[in-house]
Symmetry: C2
Subunit: 175 residues, 2 copies
């Protein structure tokens, strides 16, 4: 396994996935890394919903595409078989930051176990719909959760871990 | 160096730092990892201000303490000699998520190079003050930046990398 700095600097977003379902152990390791992301006052405001069920994955993809203004023929999850949805409790004032840190660990951990991943937005709009509220209810999730993002995961169709250039003036120094 | 999954799951927030300045090379590696965090549409909306200057570090600490409603005798940076401030461009709609991912990489990278780190909030309020706007101006930073967080970094006074328990019901499955 590459060292953590290489993982973070060489990770690239994947937008073309193989349909093969990754091994359960890998998915669990990714999720575990997500749950250990730091959160404000360690309140652990986020939750993760792991979706490997094809029907549910396709349903979410279709809803997401609709929010984008696209049709059901477009798959905003780029063929990824695993969708890890991060939501966070709006009553905790750091919830967006907290949920984002969970997403960050999921993305880095996917890279670490040799999988590709991509942050897909519109989880906020998705989980404002009655349909998604019903999904939460069916899982026994109560409370005031906002969608932070979907981390879609799968095997990469193509390897591409070249570093891309960073913008100029990303970093300033007061030494 | 530990593997990335260990770094992410064993990382603990440090709130007691030694005053010793970490090696420049380590600071640079942490910053590099931060700049490679994913951002919405790769717009790279965040910037990082690296503060190792003692006077500026103390000034920011005092401002931060004041925002907390505490006095100048309290150091909200817990003695850390390095402060990496992340701000992000409010005109990019993913800016809070983007900036948080940069913060996440900084925190994990600090752990990876053997240093401790802590996310200190109130960067938003800090950089709404005229005093901090002047700092941005003096660095030649123009534009509409919001403070996301301070990643304070230094050597840990005590090692503590035991895993802390996660809340129940962090993860739900739709298989």
């Amino acid at each position: 396994m590459k060292n953590p700095l290489e993982i973070m600097t060489n990770r690239r977003t994947t937008r073309d996935f193989l349909p093969d379902m990754p091994e359960r152990e890998k998915i669990e390791k990714i999720i575990e890394a997500g749950t250990y992301a730091p959160t404000g006052r360690n309140k652990q405001s986020p939750i993760i919903i792991s979706v490997t069920n094809r029907k549910m994955r396709d349903k979410l993809s279709e809803m997401n595409s609709k929010i984008m203004g696209k049709g059901s023929d477009f798959d905003p999850f780029y063929g990824a078989p695993v969708v890890l949805i991060v939501l966070a409790d709006k009553n905790v004032n750091t919830y967006i930051y907290d949920g984002s840190l969970v997403m960050g660990n999921l993305l880095n951990a996917a890279e670490a176990v040799g999988l590709g991943a991509c942050w897909i937005h519109r989880a906020k709009e998705e989980f404002e719909t009655e349909e998604c509220k019903e999904i939460l209810k069916s899982l026994g999730i109560t409370g005031d959760y906002e969608g932070i993002g979907h981390c879609v995961i799968g095997y990469k169709r193509n390897e591409n871990s070249e570093k891309t250039p960073r913008k100029k003036n990303y970093v300033y120094y007061i030494d």
